[in-house]
Symmetry: C4
Subunit: 212 residues, 4 copies
């Protein structure tokens, strides 16, 4: 199996998970007071926006990781499947968290549940990255050695941060959701993707359409 | 990341959102009087047809915009993600509007909710276009300068029109739905896509299979 | 837009619609008597199998039609969108028919509803084919003129047959469902696809992997 | 139709089925006791993990089978459609089994139902393989004759094993679920995929990115 095939399959799972999120927002049940029903559901919408952002940016970073990978093996495929499992599961805690916040019941439990899902996801990223990068097993020669250690530190630090953020779930579920959104945005601009994006470009065969 | 990869991901989201629409039509609950139950649900079917048309034609115009883009940057990816978020969300207001019309309750609120979603979508289009076209940042050289200003005016005018149409939601939800369908059809034949479709073809490398 | 892009989008809708079918089978509500609950739901399973077969074979025939098309225009894109709308809608009548048969209520109405959906689908096929084939507008030169008239007659005859089958819905919904399955299987082996599959192969550039 | 097109469609169904699994986990209904509600639902999560693994590894093995196929015919397409039908159906028994285990009602029936689905799936694999491999009809010349008999034996043995495992459903549904997970993992490392993966690589045109 060549990497692009695995990436296409993964992209499909990302695209489906991100679109299926909308199905987790519970439909209103009283249409006579639809305005207040919808207004009441704003946390579901907030959870939708946060999880959409999370999955969208993970899709982007997934592509960045794959752009540094030259070859894949069975272990990489399974690590990737584990990662996809946590992403495909995200719609469930998203729906639960949105509903809990809308009802004002079980909010901390719901936030912790969402947080634990994200922790599993973060460790899947670490696992995928370590499998690919240890002794440069699957990396392209063009990927600089100096970046490798930095990326490993940042991925591991990410897993630690996500673990700590679970604690915030027990303090305030709204703050927790806001931090999850902020972390996703951080990953859109973090050093791994920014610095790592650069070295691959000159050596890559992707042509003029790549990110400068 | 090259543009075609981003476009494939976007196409996936369009295809899923358009197919998931059907899941928003509530199942009948009394099968003894199934005929009247289904007849009663015709507004859900109408909302399905309108949203299917909206997403289908947006998919087409999304392709037109991408055909004028030579290169992409991070900002373009995020603007595109914002656009996909509004499209992926559309099944929810579609289901709410269809159900509200079928029950004859909360119709204006539901229509306004649908309308606001479309306004967010329209502004996402403006944002995506401005990001790509300002100072011709990401445009192909073959895209004529004269078309650029026209496209900007038409995208902005579209956003204004969609904003105004929200007002119609408070007058009559059926008229609102009909106008949303009419606007989608208009965008299938509007000057941006028709005129813009032409100049790209000769310079493009798409071969004999392109739209004449 | 080249035809392969439109086909990829269409394939996505086919793949999603065929997979989303499973979500239309109602979950059991009494788990103490799960065996009888599941046994009671066999018509939902039958409707699933029939609709899966219908969509699967339509996907195959959609590919055959596209293999004879050299170029596409806006009208073809819209005719294709109309066709996809009827396919994307099919999960709804499938769920309704399965549930009606399982409850033994409203079976004829449900069958007629399914039948009307298939009639809309059949006319969409006629429309798509006529748009592509009239005056050979979009056909490949390698597609033999003699096959063109036969294909038109067979597509039209299909639409007539599907219209007549709606009448059967009012006689017996089980017979109706069986005939829908039989028609789908017929289209897997009908003269259009069988004869038309041959002439395109020698002239095509698809290489050794094509159907002999 | 060339094999890669059929494979892309199949990949789409695999990706959608694997992602739609999450929708089969029932949402909590009492948010005041959300913690115990979620804890109570752990069998649904276990069923999700098992079915995700099953579909993910089948996707991988589906690719392996296709890598040995040089050409396809109508029979292969239909055998593949049958296989996809059993995979697309899996979310339903997964949801039923998870819910039955969570309620502690109808667990054996639910497990047997899941088991029968997997038996249908196993026989679809045998059917697909026999259709492709009998008299080497569709196989690549590079696929060694010695492997052909081994693969046939292993596919058939798999179908027998899955049939026997249905018996376990009537003993203990938890043990049954664990065995289903173990069988999936076995298929990730079984001789067919491991040995068969090797011979195809040297003769294949897939380049440096293939599994060593």
């Amino acid at each position: 199996m060549n990497p692009s095939r695995l990436e296409t399959f993964s992209d499909g799972v990302f695209a489906i998970a991100i679109t299926v999120l909308v199905l987790t927002i519970a439909a209103p049940n009283h249409y006579r007071v639809l305005g207040s029903q919808l207004a009441h559901r704003w946390p579901s919408l907030a959870a939708y926006v946060v999880s959409f952002t999370v999955i969208g940016i993970m899709w982007l970073n997934h592509h960045t990781v794959f752009s540094h990978v030259e070859t894949i093996d069975r272990g990489f495929i399974f690590a990737n499947l584990l990662l996809l499992m946590t992403i495909g599961f995200l719609p469930y805690p998203t729906g639960v968290l949105g509903e809990a916040l809308a009802r004002g019941q079980g909010t901390r439990t719901a936030a912790a549940f969402y947080g634990v899902t994200m922790v599993c996801n973060a460790y899947s990223w670490v696992f995928l990255w370590l499998h690919a990068s240890r002794r440069r097993r699957l990396l392209r020669p063009s990927f600089p050695e100096s970046e490798r250690a930095i990326a490993t530190i940042l991925f591991t630090a990410g897993a630690v941060v996500y673990t700590l953020v679970v604690g915030l779930a027990f303090v305030n579920a709204y703050a927790f959701l806001a931090v999850q959104g902020a972390l996703a945005v951080y990953y859109a601009f973090d050093p791994i993707s920014r610095r790592a994006a650069r070295p691959a470009s000159p050596g890559g065969a992707e042509g003029p359409g790549t990110i400068p």
